[in-house]
């Protein structure tokens, strides 16, 4: 038994942090924030592609580094911490994992190498409006070769070259691969609370597309993709939550009121202690999720759910109380607090809201207890 990352994995995390500290500061994030025309930071993205990180958990035979999910987890934590304004999650946790889970050998060979090289930028399109996109209620349809319907919002939908789409096929659902640059596809950028990550409405009007995996098994693939993405997003959330705790702690030590640092007040001390407790709960659950993911353990459904829930809760609390700790300054555009508050909310709903994951978790516990 050994419940920590290895020295190699920690070294990778350290290198990633150093790289991002230099190449992806909040000044880079603000370049995207302050420019409505920018959907992501292509300078940062090109460097991330160069580092080969997209291929961390993609087998060498498809051009990846073939390291594994644990390595991708430590990179995800750093990307979250840095608020990286790039389509890394969409391409890596969702699109590539969907291909790995459901794609044929040919499809994987065709696409994954281009993903690693940056030629293909992927996104994952499930949502069609308010509420959890339940496969049984989808309106987007796939007839075996063509895709029709509207997906909204799709994270990175405006900059991706390809999408994996959850669509209705016959009486079931299927996962479908579609090029976004070809015919039958129109897309429109949509405005969100988190402008450093772009979102689009994508309309398919008989767009040529190919199925991933078996027809009608889309729900199973979708759930598998979500379980994978949940753990990886949880690491991004954890990275963000920890950065909020650091920011709040630093500020509380430096900011004076009533003749002493505000961090000497128990109101602040205990708030930050609560933050620490939540972040530790998230970290431990995330590690368990990482282990389940890396070993494809039967515990993955509950481990993914609990890491996602713990990390969503930790990031929400840390991001809002980081603003509160900063006081008036925390509510200004110039101070970085709100960047984390925005990102925290996006990551909490992007792969299904906490409500959905609580139900997934309890259902998994029921199945386990009945077994």
């Amino acid at each position: 038994m050994n419940f920590d990352f290895s020295e190699d994995q920690k070294f990778l995390a350290g290198e990633a942090r150093k790289f991002l500290n230099a190449q992806c500061t909040t000044a880079h994030v603000r370049e995207v924030l302050n420019d409505d025309d920018k959907s992501h930071h292509d300078g940062v993205w090109n460097k991330v592609v160069e580092m080969g990180w997209i291929g961390t958990a993609i087998p060498e035979e498809y051009g990846g580094l073939g390291l594994g999910m644990l390595e991708l987890c430590v990179i995800a934590e750093e990307m979250g911490r840095a608020l990286a304004p790039v389509p890394f999650a969409s391409t890596t946790y969702f699109f590539a994992e969907a291909l790995k889970a459901a794609g044929s050998e040919e499809q994987k060979k065709d696409v994954l190498e281009k993903v690693v090289s940056g030629e293909v930028v992927g996104c994952y399109a499930a949502s069609e409006g308010p509420g959890n996109p339940e496969p049984s209620k989808l309106k987007t349809t796939f007839d075996g070769s063509k895709l029709t319907g509207t997906k909204i919002p799709v994270t990175d939908g405006d900059i991706a070259t390809h999408a994996v789409v959850l669509a209705k096929e016959g009486s079931g659902a299927s996962l479908v691969l579609v090029a976004l640059t070809g015919e039958g596809v129109s897309r429109k950028k949509v405005s969100t609370l988190e402008p450093t990550r772009s979102h689009a409405e994508i309309t398919f009007d008989g767009a040529p597309a190919q199925r991933l995996g078996k027809a009608g098994e889309g729900e199973d693939y979708h759930n598998r993709v979500l379980d994978h993405a949940a753990v990886l997003l949880a690491f991004e959330q954890l990275g963000g939550a920890d950065r909020c705790l650091e920011m709040a702690t630093e500020f509380a030590k430096d900011r004076y009121a009533f003749g002493r640092p505000i961090g000497g007040n128990q109101a602040i001390k205990h708030k930050l202690a609560d933050m620490y407790v939540k972040n530790q709960v998230a970290r431990s659950n995330c590690y368990y999720g990482a282990w389940a993911l890396s070993t494809d353990a039967s515990e993955l459904p509950e481990a993914a759910a609990s890491s996602r829930l713990a990390a969503s809760e930790a990031y929400w609390f840390a991001s809002k109380e980081n603003i509160q700790t900063h006081g008036g300054m925390g509510f200004t555009w110039e101070v970085d607090c709100h960047l984390f508050y925005r990102r925290a909310k996006l990551l909490a709903v992007q792969a299904g809201s906490p409500k959905v994951w609580k139900e997934k978790l309890v259902s998994a516990l029921e199945r386990k207890n009945a077994a």
Binding site: P130, Y256, G259, Q324, A348, V349
Partner: protein, 400 residues
């Protein structure tokens, strides 16, 4: 104990309502929550004048200043009725609620004659200049310096979070006149003409994206000694009167409440979810607790009481509840909830807009933490925090 109007109250309510119906449109779902801009300001001034002429501006103020000489219960009734209409009142809240009462309490007869009625008639707008970059929760930590020069004072420094500074005509400004005295002892309050040379208001870009508040810079601004409010060195005493009035003013939130999220949930099919229903019950109970506490306070005021620190509970409840409601509404919409386009989103993206406002509400007018300290110390009588800054000369205090 009676929630119904007395005969006299009912008559006044009818009178108020018919006046309102004559001049305004009823509020509806499309009425803006946080209106601003030139046109709005113009409308607000006109409405204030209309109210004053109709005898409905500052109902409890004496007639000699343009008030009605009415009861505080009449003011409550007026507020209830006015809130049902699309009334442009925002720009006057701080001036009439906090600044002008301070002028009335500490100003000379000349001040009162010069300023009170004009403010009440909407001809002049006031702002409150207390907070500074290093004096937020610790309001008395102001560094803006006032130095006596003959019959005048020369002001230099920076204020922050000043609501409406860019459209205000006058302000009350808290300054440090004696840096050698302990923090609370060396302060003095002045009336300042916001249009004079050396006063510059710059909007603050908020985390929510908006620019409703200002930084105000004072550069060699000269104020005659006659525009001092209270004695030299008594500025903190004067400020406390302003802040006491603030407590009555803050608390409410323009954001969506239990009713709006209930309607939203009904429309989107979430109202049958038992987990949501229990949350809704919690929100309702706390929101009712706040509204009804305001009624209790009004009853106490109508019996001759003063607004006490117990009113601090209002903002603790409403600001946190607003944040919680908005967060829940967003999560209820799942991934879709991150979108914030007012034209296409359900409820005009009200929950998303307010989500970005809520963190500010928890800070403005006293953070949660400061308000709890006020309750603990002034209502419950618990010991003050250990204060290292009480007896030290201000300029020797550690500033970080």
């Amino acid at each position: 104990m009676d929630f119904n109007d007395t005969k006299e109250e009912a008559e006044f309510r009818v009178e108020a309502r018919s006046f309102l119906e004559k001049h305004l449109k009823p509020k509806d779902a499309n009425s803006p929550r946080r209106p601003s801009g030139e046109d709005f300001l113009k409308r607000a001034k006109e409405w204030q004048k209309t109210k004053a002429e109709g005898g409905f501006a500052q109902i409890t103020w004496p007639k000699e200043w343009g008030g009605r000489g009415g009861s505080s219960m009449q003011q409550v009734i007026w507020n209830q009725e006015e809130s049902k209409f699309d009334a442009p009142t925002g720009p006057f809240t701080i001036g009439l609620g906090m600044c002008v009462p301070t002028v009335i309490a500490f100003g000379s007869d000349e001040h009162k004659k010069r300023y009170v009625e004009k403010a009440l008639r909407g001809e002049e707008i006031w702002c409150q200049l207390f907070s500074e970059p290093a004096a937020g929760s610790d309001v008395a930590g102001v560094k803006t310096r006032a130095i006596k020069d003959g019959d005048e004072w020369v002001i230099n420094g920076q204020k922050v979070w000043t609501t409406g500074a860019h459209f205000s005509d006058y302000g009350i400004v808290l300054t440090r006149t004696d840096p050698k005295a302990p923090k609370h002892k060396g302060l003095t309050m002045f009336i300042v003409d916001m249009h004079q040379k050396g006063v510059e208001a710059k909007p603050i870009h908020q985390a929510s994206g908006g620019r409703e508040f200002n930084e105000v810079y004072f550069t060699d601004v000269r104020i005659p000694d006659s525009d001092r409010l209270g004695e030299v060195g008594d500025g903190w005493k004067v400020a406390l009167v302003t802040l006491m009035n603030e407590r009555l003013a803050v608390g409410g939130s323009p954001g969506p409440d239990w009713k709006e999220i209930m309607e939203y949930a009904r429309d989107t099919g979430s109202l049958s979810d038992q987990a949501f229903r229990e949350k809704l019950a919690d929100w309702y109970v706390a929101a009712q607790g706040y509204s009804l506490t305001k009624f209790r306070t009004q009853t106490a005021l109508s019996r001759g009481g003063t607004p006490g620190p117990e009113n601090s509970i209002g903002k603790i409840i409403t600001a946190n509840q607003l944040q919680d409601i908005c967060n829940s509404a967003i999560e209820m919409q799942d991934h879709y909830g991150i979108m914030n386009d007012t034209d296409t989103m359900p409820a005009n993206a009200l929950f998303q807009q307010s989500f970005m406002w809520a963190p500010g509400l928890r800070i403005a007018g006293g953070t949660d933490e400061i308000l709890k300290n006020i309750i603990a110390e002034r209502v419950l009588g618990l010991p003050q925090d250990v204060r290292v800054d009480k007896k030290v000369p201000f300029d020797e205090l550690k500033q970080g």
